[in-house]
Symmetry: C2
Subunit: 302 residues, 2 copies
Amino acid sequence: MRQITVIGMGLIGTSLAGALRAADERESPLGALHVTGYDVDPANTSTARGKLAIDREAATLAEAVQGAQLVVIATPVQAVREVLAALPPLLAEGTVVTDVASTKAEIGAWAAELLPPTFPFVGGHPMAGKAQHGPQAADLSLFQGAIYCLTPAPQVPQYALELVEAVALTIGARPYFIDPHEHDAYVAAISHLPFLLSAGLVDITSRSPAWRELALLAATGYRDMTRLASGDVAMHRDIALTNRAALLRWIDEMMHWLAETRDHLDAADSAALTAMFERVRDHREAWLHHNERLRPAKNTST
Amino acid sequence: MRQITVIGMGLIGTSLAGALRAADERESPLGALHVTGYDVDPANTSTARGKLAIDREAATLAEAVQGAQLVVIATPVQAVREVLAALPPLLAEGTVVTDVASTKAEIGAWAAELLPPTFPFVGGHPMAGKAQHGPQAADLSLFQGAIYCLTPAPQVPQYALELVEAVALTIGARPYFIDPHEHDAYVAAISHLPFLLSAGLVDITSRSPAWRELALLAATGYRDMTRLASGDVAMHRDIALTNRAALLRWIDEMMHWLAETRDHLDAADSAALTAMFERVRDHREAWLHHNERLRPAKNTST
């Protein structure tokens, strides 16, 4: 019986714990599992247990990791550092540690600093989420077909890689090994910049003197473009702060693009605008075509 | 029996025609209706008829508007001008003309230039849409609860206002009288700028040397933030060109915001970022709270 502990019973931690428990032990590379959950807020652990996402509720970090062969840190980014610092005296030798946070380079550096080599660390980032957060929003199928980035340092032992890869496979995700700095540069473009644009759209419209009228006229397009702005504040702050360099680069790209497009518009350059609108439509449709999992149902009214 | 003609059998024209036909004539302020449809592409008119959205298919503009008391122009913006120019010799005196396009000031000016006062013009813009376009995507409930902007010039006779207002009410929308320039300034913020941000996100990511990896890692957040970029090219080009001044102003607002946010990030100003992320989350949630119609189902996994 393999013991896995998940620290942090938010949306991702609870969904991951639940997906591990729901897996068929005869088919999973992990075999039979016992999953322990822990959260600084006991109400979250209790909700996760109520959803049958964990076998056991732990009341303290020490109790949670006792006997664990794998510890999954699923807290907000800044809390990952505290958990990494607290773990070494609590773990049995050889215990593997992983995380699920949205930035990887800084967390990898913390692990190298805080965990002795007897506790191999394999950074991870399942590319899945939803608008709601907290354990009550947990979803066993959240990771089905999703890319699961793994960002191990070069010296990590094979058994640790295989164990975390097996977790990704068991919850239905697709493991994808990638350098942590590359990971951060990429997610800045496809995840963190989109959040900022969403936040910016809300901020400039809601501080406008015309906000009352804007709020009345705004419909589904505005709703969907601002969905990310409703996300968890601490998570997005930590992401921004731990992925600053990459995010700054993509903000610059966007400002450059807006300046360029502003010029086309100012010159009423119909040909340039048409070419650009066609190009983005074609790229976006081709992308969607190759990502069947992400294609919305045909009849979705949006 | 009131005769209404809809010119342009796209998503909006066909949905509007169908919603008019589907209304209970005993409850509608319009009473019994006969709806004629016309599109430069006869296949579209035929599809609309196949969906029972119209009573009669017309083969020409002249045939379409014969006997009409109300003509609804539901073509792309640039084609509205051609239709307005062609209508006067074809209409009976007193026929009311309206449109459903996304910009209103320039169209109002065209109507003032091209239509004699015997054909009152009431600009209109139902604030509804969906990702798909064309008559096959038509949806009788598309306008249920939606705001329907009406932008009449001051001298428009009362019977024309009442007729177009009755159309809005009959299809389940909420008529909202507004100055055309104000309308354009507002929709630039809540509709046209969001489209541009969506297009920009696709453009800068898809032209990156890392696009192959970005495309692999991009998930639901990217998908939703780029949905508008898949929209109809001609429609968005016409919108951008006929609403340039307002759109330029909002692009400037966004660039200013990005510069400001870039500074906070560069300084690792955690307090400023936290305050901003909290502010946008609260504004967005309050907006959603007051727009029950736009609230997605609780369990929508996004």
